[in-house]
Structures are given as C-alpha cells and as structure tokens.
Amino acid sequence: MDRFFDAVFLGLSSGAIYALVALGLVVVFRGTGHLNFAAGEMATFSAYIVWVVTTWTLFGDSALPLWLATIGGMVFGFALGAATEVFIVSPLSKKSPLAVFVALIAILLGINAIDSGRWGPPPSEEIDSLFPNDPDDFVRLFGAVWRWEDIGTLIVTLAASALLFLLFAKTKIGLAMRAVASNPDSSKLVGVPTKLVLAGSWGLSGALAALAGVMVAGSQAQVTPTMMFTIFVYASAAATLGGLDSPIGAVVGGLSIGVVENLAAEFAPGWVGQEMKLSVALLCIFVVLFVKPSGLFGTEKVERV
C-alpha cells in the first residue's frame, strides 16, 4: 500500500509542475487564442536569470535569498511574456496564425540556444530549492515518504491557482481579461485597453512559467538548458485534458496526469514501467478528447454558420 501512496505523492508533485505550466498555457489561450509554445523555454530562461541573480553578492558578502530572486525571476518572466506578445505575437497574428506558430518555435529555439551557449554544460549552474531539501526532509504518511519539497510544490501550485481564480473572478483586471477573451471588438468599444490586457495575459503566463522553472531547477539542484522540454509536453497534455480555456481544468488535468502516470508505472511495470509513463499521459488525452472534444472542463465552441 505504501507503494501506492509513494506513487500518488510523487504524482502530485510532478503533476503540480505540469499544472502550473498548464495554467500559463490556459491563461494565454483564453486571452489570445494562441498556444504559447515557448512557455517551456521562457521558464528555463527565467530560471537561469534567477540563478544569475543568486550569484550576485550584494550588501557586503551575502547573496540574495532565493525566494527574493524567484520573485525577481517572475517579474522577468512577466516582462518576457509581455514582450513576446507585443513585439511578435500581436503583429504576426494579424497576418497568419501559422506565422505566429513559427515565430514561437523560433523563440523556443533561440532561447534554448542562448541558454545552452551562455551557460554551457552542467554542472555549473547549481541552485537550491525553495523548500528544505536535505535527504531527511520528509514526512511519512500511510507508510510512504512525502518529501517537503514535493509538498511545497503542490502548495505553491494550489496557491497560484487560487490567486488566479480570484484574479479572474473578483478583480477588474480579471473581468477585463475575460471580456477581451470572449469579444475583443466589443471590449475595445467599451473602453477596455485590449492591447494591455493581451500583453498582460502573456506576461502572466511568463511569470507562472518562471515560477515553475525555478521549482523544477530546485528539484534537480541545477539549472539545465533542456529541463522543461518534456514538462512542456506534459503541460500541454494537461491543458488539453482539462480544457484549454479552463484554469480549473489545467490544475485537475495536471495533477491527474501526474498521479495516473506514476500509478501506471508503478503497478504495471511490464506494460508501462518508467519508460512508457509519458505514453500513458498521452493516451489519457486521446481517451478524454474522444468523449469530450473540448476537454474535461473546456467550453464547447459554438460556431455560427
């Protein structure tokens, strides 16, 4: 039974990361109808910036505390996302949606090249975790081990989702975002600063990605250039599963994928095992989409003829 909970706890933690990145994808999709293919790389870039900041020694000899650097990283991520929207996505989406896709891929490749080139091969970029991460920092629950780091990741993700929910439901900014998402022209007429809102959506996505990036780097104890590749695939699976315009869907999708894949790997070692974990996640999408083509919590698009 403890193997079961081992898998569940691990699944919740990796699922939390998927959910966080998926949240970013959902925010962008809701706001602008595009998929942020460069989300993974933005996360990595922001994590490197956070690392750079931690190497600065300010105020004498002490370095900046990690949590402060992370906030700085999130600000950087916000700026990166917003800049992408303003300079690349907006101008190109008027011309052709495929052009937007290629441009985002180019950004993905470009950022990756910069990361790999500037900060080179491991093991140079060591970074701590935001949470206590010594070997004995864990709790025992139902006979299984749950590390503080994993608990922390989950809590942060849930907190971020809750904040996002509050943003959308209770604030004017959130209202503006929802307005622009559902009807940009009318929103413009009513006086909603659409350009700002669009940039803000992407910025928010960048900030969430940055947070995810820092947590991922912390869990590996180092920042590496390709750390978010596979996670991006998982996150898009999670967002798809949950419905691309549903933040709840992103979180539910992410956590479920994390848990299901780890359970499958644990309890079906012959058929699934660690090698085919990702395939299980992908097959989940196929199954869910077959039954609900817009994802579990997504809204069906109604087209007027």
Partner: protein, 436 residues
C-alpha cells in the same frame, strides 16, 4: 588476483623493454614488421597512398550545440582544439601545419554523415575523435570505403575494434566491455555475494553499457535483483526509479546515467537512503563520474562513488597529481588558452589530440612517409604513453591481435573531503596476449 597481477607485470615489463629498445619518445613498431592495411579495395588507392604535404587536415564531428547530451560532451571539442593549437604552436609535427575542423552534429547520428561528407569534400586527410557510438557507426562504412582514417573514436562500443571489416577505424575510449568487466570483477572481489541493482539511461549508450555489464556479471557470478531505467529526454529526478530500487535494496548499484542525470541520481539516492535503511555501494559510468567537476556538484551525495579513470587518464583534480610535471604542463597550457574551467572534462579531447599527433609522427617517420595508409598503419602499431596516462598503463595496438589502445582499467573511489579520487586496488588489465 594473482594471475591478473602477473599479467600487469608482464605488460609493464614488455612495455619497459619496448621503450628501452626503441629509444625515447614514441616507441612505434616499424611498419616493415607490423600490420599494414590493404589499399586495393579503396575507392582511390592512389590518394590513400599519396604523400600529404604542408598541411595535415584533421576533421571531426562533435556535439557543439543541442540538448543535454551535447552539453555533456562539448568540452571534449575544446580540449581537442586546445591540443592541436598547442601542437602547432610548438611545431610538434615538423614541417607540417595541423588544421582542425570540427563540425557540429548535435549528437544526432542523422547529422553526422552530413558533417563528415562535407569535410571529406573539403579535403580532410584524417578524422579524429568523433563522439558517439551511433554517430561513428553512421559514417564508418563511408570512411572505410574511402580509406580515410577514422582515428580515436570517442565511444566505447566494442564494435570499434573490428579490425578485419573496418581496418580504418580505431577506438580510443576504454571499451565498455573492459570498463564494466572491471567493475564486475571489483564487485566480486570486494563485495562478494552481494545483490546488484542496475540503473541506466534508456538510450543506445546506456543499453550497450549495461549489456556489457550483464555479460561480465554473469561470468563473475553476480546476482542482479533490480533494474530501473530513465528516459533519455526526461530530466526530472528519478525519484520513482530510486524508490523502486530501494524496495529491493540491492547492496551494490551499477549505474549509467547521463549528464545532469548523474547528479540528480545521486541526490535522489541520498533521499532514498535517508528514508530507508539502505546503504548501497554505487558504481557509476566514468563518462560522468570520472569528472570531479560533475561529482562535485552533487556534494556530499557523491561521496564514495566508485568509477574508473576514463581512458586510463590520471585524476587531474588531485592536487598531488596536478603538481607532477607532465600534468602541470597540461594544466598550464589549458589555462593559457583560457580553458582553465574544463581541465577535467576537456581532458578527453586533449588526449584524443595527443594520440592523433603521436600517430601522425609515427606515420611521418615510416618508410612511406605521411600518407593516409601509413597513418592507419601507424595507428594500429602504436605503442605510446600520452601525457595524462597513468603509470603502469600503455596505449598499444597490434594489428589484428590487439585492436584496442586502452585495455587497462583502474577503479577509483571519489572522496568528497578531498575532492578527488583514490585508486582502489590494482590496475585490472584486459590486455590481449598473442595467444588470444
């Protein structure tokens, strides 16, 4: 144990004799007596036997950009460039300028033929230090058909010793057969009757390495009780794999992770050790564990890891070793070229460069002068001690009887407190004897 010591002594003795007989420097066997390549089936035998004048063009294909694996191997490229620059600055090959071009194949075997063919078109005379088993296999047929030496392949697959079918291809890395054979022998000797668990990256490199270990383990009578893998692109810490291993709690772990995964694995292992009552002994591939720089990043968690000296090279991170003459010279040269941060990881490339130049010098001194054919002849008859090679070891090949340079393995253990390795036991030698 005794028979191995005898073999080591025999090899050492033979080398000493060879050194003294042939004089100082490169003790290459004369090509009148040694193995020679048959250039009749070459696509252009005239070119293969034509003298090379003025500039020796050396080509290579290495990962200079790309994903995780590329990042792990890129310092080797800089090491190779450093040595060739050093060789040119000091006119090591008299009368010749060495021109090195390294193409970027991003560690993808689909791109290597493009790089290599392009370089062949550009008139490269010899290839050296191509990285990656699949990468080298992808171009091996072409290079052998064209009779262009493919020297010092930086991959450890035993297939690079196939002299009869691929005479123009020679390997430099210690064959995985020997590396993992040595670990198996060491485990059987020092941890007898232990259960063994395996952990490796599910790529061609990981699979072939583990295949070789399994074969050696069977011979040594070791019992394998657990086996876990991690996917090549998956950089997440292998938490699930390690906790599965913890379930079986093998006493010894033989691991083949890659790049940053080496550090993640050790960190996860520390977590699992703390959560369970488990203190396994860890053996790790020398591709990552051979570098104190990489293990250093895992801090405490890397303490006590067993590995071996990659290609039999000395441990540059050991201050005592670094102070000895030839090694100090290497470090000084690297620092002069601005590569002080990769003296450990760049060593593989430096070594490849040094062995290549040694081969070129032997070929130059041969009766046929410097031709592509004489280069591969020299390579296959080489008897040489590179700067960074350990005492008691030698690089030698002998035509069809001995197709590997590095057949001696020195198992070592990493010490966090020191920051470098301690030798464990004697050199385990797999040196082929004529009788085999």
């Amino acid at each position: 144990m005794t028979s191995r010591s005898t073999r080591v002594l025999a090899v050492a003795g033979a080398s000493v004799l060879a050194f003294s007989v042939a004089g100082l420097g490169h003790a290459g066997a004369g090509s009148e007596e040694g193995w020679t390549v048959d250039t009749e089936d070459c696509s252009d035998p005239d070119r293969a036997n034509a003298p090379i004048e003025g500039t020796i063009r050396i080509g290579s294909s290495m990962p200079l950009s790309g994903g995780a694996a590329a990042a792990a191997f890129e310092p080797a490229a800089r090491g190779l460039e450093a040595y060739i620059a050093y060789a040119n600055d000091n006119d090591l090959v008299p009368g010749y300028e060495l021109e090195l071009t390294i193409g970027d194949d991003q560690y993808d075997p689909a791109l290597t033929p493009g790089v290599v063919n392009g370089l062949i078109d550009d008139g490269v005379d010899v290839f050296a230090g191509i990285i990656g088993t699949q990468n080298n296999l992808a171009v091996r047929d072409t290079l052998n058909e064209e009779c262009i030496p493919q020297l010092n392949v930086l991959a450890g697959d035993p297939r690079f010793g196939e002299v009869e079918e691929y005479p123009w291809t020679t390997g430099l890395l210690t064959s995985y057969e020997y590396e993992y054979g040595a670990y198996a022998q060491d485990i059987a000797a020092n941890f007898p009757d232990s259960t063994v668990g395996l952990f490796y990256v599910n790529s061609e490199f990981g699979n072939i390495s583990i295949d070789n270990f399994k074969a050696a383990a069977e011979e040594a009578g070791l019992e394998i009780v657990a086996e876990e893998t991690v996917e090549l692109g998956d950089e997440a810490p292998p938490q699930a794999q390690v906790s599965s291993l913890a379930e079986e709690a093998p006493e010894v772990l033989v691991t083949v992770p890659l790049g940053a995964g080496c550090i993640s694995f050790l960190n996860e292992l520390a977590n699992a050790k703390a959560a369970n009552e488990w203190e396994p002994v860890v053996y790790m591939t020398n591709t990552c564990a051979g570098s104190a720089l990489i293990l250093g990043a895992a801090g405490e968690n890397a303490d006590g890891v067993y590995t071996s000296a990659a290609m039999g090279l000395v441990d540059v991170s050991n201050p005592e070793v670094a102070a000895t003459e030839p090694v100090a010279g290497y470090i000084a040269e690297m620092e002069a070229q601005g590569l002080g941060d990769i003296i450990t990881t760049g060593g593989a490339g430096w070594n490849a460069g040094e062995v290549t130049v040694a081969v070129l010098l032997d070929a130059l001194e041969s009766p046929d002068g410097l031709t592509q054919a004489s280069i591969i002849n020299a390579a296959r008859n080489l008897d040489f001690r590179p700067t960074l090679l350990r005492e008691g070891m030698n690089y030698s090949m002998n035509g069809e009887e001995d197709a590997f340079y590095s057949q001696d393995v020195q198992v070592g253990q990493y010490n966090v407190a020191d920051g470098f390795y301690t030798d464990i036991g004697e050199i385990i030698s797999f040196e082929s004897t004529p009788a085999e």
